[in-house]
Symmetry: C2
Subunit: 341 residues, 2 copies
DNA sequence: AATTTTCTGATTTACGTACCTCAAAAACTG
DNA sequence: CAGTTTTTGAGGTACGTAAATCAGAAAATT
């Protein structure tokens, strides 16, 4: 039978109250007594029943998620996952509030964070936009003792406790590896289409991509990046234009959103003249494009994992626990048409 | 504030005991009263506090895992994960026992299952070996009201409740897709090395692999499968022999274990003459080989996910709950050197 | 109408922990 | 030594649910 606090008390020859004081780091226990209790704990192999402890504590965690009101499938996925967490929040003794802000605006984000700080939640998670104002707001949140995590897009150098997202440089490198190998030793051009170079994750993906392309695939020429602001219509135009202008584009890396437009543009090209395509995020669009053969590989970050990781970390930080890095690392998933979930 | 059973009782105008009867499906409640209570539950949005319920129930689940005492890295990984679950088992109100059996022996496995049935655990998980004896033992377990799940290798057509493992046919198809594309349109031969065609997962991988190879990559010729019984030494020999015999082997699919031997054999070949290699399971060996460039891609099934999924399902089955298929699907992970976790 | 059966209510105990109070004991002060 | 402070014990209540008992009410049966 699992030992309980009562067993510890009996074994250490102290009262329940003393065990409780030791377990919860409360003052008023002599050093020798404390050691006797700790001894008993380790001998009996006592582990606190977290469920019972939480029940007794009745503690609830309040978190706020700041998300861009940005309607690409991936962000919708993130929002859905946060909302799913909200609906589970009762069972998990957490109370999660969602605040929406316009995307790509550092000042608005900073203001939102400052406003949230007034409510004194236990933790805040947000999709970072770079800017000094944001750094300052994060510093103020930490100052107020609020746990802070960035989601999807990071804010390095700030005082955030944790980043719940993928290594975007590695993602870019993976994309280059796949694209280069799928191109199969042929010479030709590679088109890259991004959302905006002002966004950190897109910049990092490009960096990684270019590094591997340059080192490992010298026979492939990467064209200058085209920015389509994650807009399907714009993306379709840009891709069509590029494919029309160069006849030797054998690869396409879509490192942002707007894949619906890209798929549309590709569909206009005869199947045997289509480039190899690597895109990001498994959405309905990319899933269908994979199945159809328009896209050859999709790199994915699991929105559900990211959101749950952020919550776990915020909870831990609120309790002053350290982050177990290995457990919170978000993987870069690769999907081909054959291993789609 | 979250509603509790007390709120339900008050709102429905019944006593706590009646609410309890409704919630736990106990008899002794009139139809109309039951409906009033259910009404109140849905109006107030009551959700049972599982932690408190488990605490009150004091129920513990007893499960037995039957694992082959088979010393390849992947099986060791599975064992480690089960043991990790054992060490967590206190906190999760589960009691897990591990039984080891020699691999590939249906009769021994069946006997072990029969012996386990005598202890009447709540659930059993095992790595299946095919055989009528095993089917019969599974039927007897189910007869005794014990939940049954297969792990890693399935036993289709049996009465098992669940299979916690990957779709091995899809894995084979994925391997073919990667290998075919990495080979880059060249002509040549593909070598396939397996553990044993007597094991279902290896057979299924091969099937999927051959299907895609035949359909999508007609310029590649797949050599007859070499069986190396998952033994590194034997695998090294077989691969060396094959590479020596044919000079146009441009691809190698290792669909079983023994990759240490294969890596060793590959290292003897000059780098630019090495075939493209796809292997299974991310272990220390394959991880190093990926980094070194000996292996180009690794398909992986996450042992931790599989074990946890099996436990979740057994727990659910023990409580008579249905399996949420989507949640329990084990993904086929693809790792290149750039996206290793 | 009397009896049996089926429901329902009220109440209690328990699960393992947290946290509180109050009193008693022990350990230090000067 | 008395006085003060610190440490400890004993006991209780609470968290939300499960499960049991027993008595009483309502319904169904005779």
């Amino acid at each position: 039978m699992k030992p309980t606090v009562h067993d510890i008390a009996r074994s250490a020859g102290v009262s329940l109250a003393t065990v409780d004081r030791v377990l919860n780091g409360r003052p008023g226990v002599r050093h020798v007594t404390r050691e006797r209790v700790e001894q008993a704990i380790s001998v009996l192999g006592y582990v606190r029943d977290v469920a019972a402890a939480n029940l007794a504590k009745g503690r609830t965690y309040s978190f706020t998620f700041v998300l861009p009101n940005y309607d690409n499938s991936f962000m919708i996925g993130i929002r859905d996952e946060v909302e799913a967490a909200v609906s589970r929040s009762g069972a998990e003794r957490t109370q999660i509030r969602i605040v929406e802000v316009p995307p790509f605006d550092a000042q608005v984000l900073a203001d939102a964070l400052d406003r949230i700080a007034l409510d004194m939640p236990d933790g805040v998670a947000f999709v970072a936009v770079e800017g000094d104002e944001v750094h300052a707001s994060v510093a103020r949140l930490k100052e107020a003792g609020i746990a802070v995590a960035t989601l999807v897009s990071d804010l390095p150098g700030s005082e955030r406790d944790h980043f719940a997202g993928i290594d975007n440089n590695a993602a870019g490198r993976t994309a280059a590896n796949l694209l280069g190998r799928f191109a199969g030793g042929r010479d030709g051009r590679i088109a890259v289409i991004a959302g905006s170079m002002l966004v950190r994750d897109h910049r990092e993906r490009l960096e990684g991509f270019l590094a591997v392309m340059g080192d490992d695939f010298p026979r492939l020429t990467v064209l200058p990046v085209m920015e389509a602001r994650d807009d399907p219509t714009l993306a379709a135009e840009v891709v069509s234009a590029a494919l029309g202008h160069y006849c030797d584009i054998i690869g396409l890396y879509s490192l942002g959103a707007g894949n619906r437009g890209i798929a549309h543009a590709l569909r206009q090209v005869p199947p045997d003249a289509r480039p190899v395509v690597v895109a990001h995020e498994l959405t309905n669009t990319t899933r269908a494009a994979l199945a159809e053969g328009l896209i050859d590989a999709v790199l994915n970050q699991d929105a559900g994992h990211e959101v749950r990781s952020a919550i776990r970390v915020l909870k831990g930080k609120a309790d002053g626990l350290p982050v177990i890095a290995a457990q919170e690392r978000i993987r870069i998933d690769i999907f081909l048409k054959d291993n789609m979930p």
